[in-house]
Symmetry: C2
Subunit: 215 residues, 2 copies
Amino acid sequence: MSKLRVESFTFSLDGFGAGPEQNLNNPLGVGGNALHAWAFPTRTFQQKLFGNENGETGVDEDFAARGFQNIGAWILGRNMFGPVRGPWPDESWRGWWGENPVYHMPVFVLTHHPRPPLVMEGGTTFHFVTEGIVDALERAREAAGGKDVRVGGGVSVIQQYLKQRLIDELHIAISPVLLGAGERLFEGVNLPALGYACIKHQATERATHLILSRQ
Amino acid sequence: MSKLRVESFTFSLDGFGAGPEQNLNNPLGVGGNALHAWAFPTRTFQQKLFGNENGETGVDEDFAARGFQNIGAWILGRNMFGPVRGPWPDESWRGWWGENPVYHMPVFVLTHHPRPPLVMEGGTTFHFVTEGIVDALERAREAAGGKDVRVGGGVSVIQQYLKQRLIDELHIAISPVLLGAGERLFEGVNLPALGYACIKHQATERATHLILSRQ
């Protein structure tokens, strides 16, 4: 059965999955880039995000790499797609990632405001889903053709899927930084009550990696 | 200058420093014992808490041991001293630790309800402070005679001292368990805004250890 997975989702020591004040210059919120210091040097991120041949191997790389294995579709909250709020003023915003986004597969963007699909270079198509998280998951599963679906975030989208017990597995990284404010992934989410447990725990110099699984 | 330190304070992956429903059988709240699985096998905890000669050495032990180095007095919230709430019905409750408590030095217990000092075996005296956290700190500093003062907790007491920037250093351990509910150490506390930063980060199989310091 195709799984719904969260991968490489990183939060700070004080529990924040993104910094405050997301805007065009701070897609991850203020301070949010420091969260991902474990991921940027990895071979996976270097190749996928920056087009570089090289990059570090090791435990951090192993966790970064698993996030792209056997994935057939993505689901994103609208704020992960861009900083535009409310009805789309026009179709000029085409994502944070340029004309050839990192996904190279169908991406389902949750929004309250309809918009035609956006076909990008390299195999990425953004589909805008206004019928809610269950509909988005069904469409993503179908598009994934038997592979897994990855929820990219943000915090609110992951929380919504968690509360309905729809997520099968989460890879979480805790970074040794303090953000002070922002959004907490586990705010108002009682993971043991929902049936989740930590089944793996491995730490490096740069992060503590966890695998949480629905039992 | 004598420091005010938090040591071996442990919280769960979902951020809870104690489980819910503290009572006589669950001094750390339900599930709270699992939090401290990193500490129990250490030589320091085996010796200090259980009177055993042996115990594990290594990184976990190093962090456990530093918590008892150069400490001249402790400060505890009343709930750490016991499960009794409201005015003391009598003087029968003498702490969780039996007649010879683990402290072996003056311990200042924050409470709204006065009570005479309680002299125990082995050098521990519990002093009940009703004049607030600053007064407790002054008295503890004086009693410590130049050594540091350790705040044992709980969450609310640490938060009160943090918000007044009175804590110099915190050793925090994050345990690979989920508690689901309880008290969050960093709820409503913006650490970077208060001047704290993570200056050390070291992980083991059982916990991720952090040192936070006021800059």
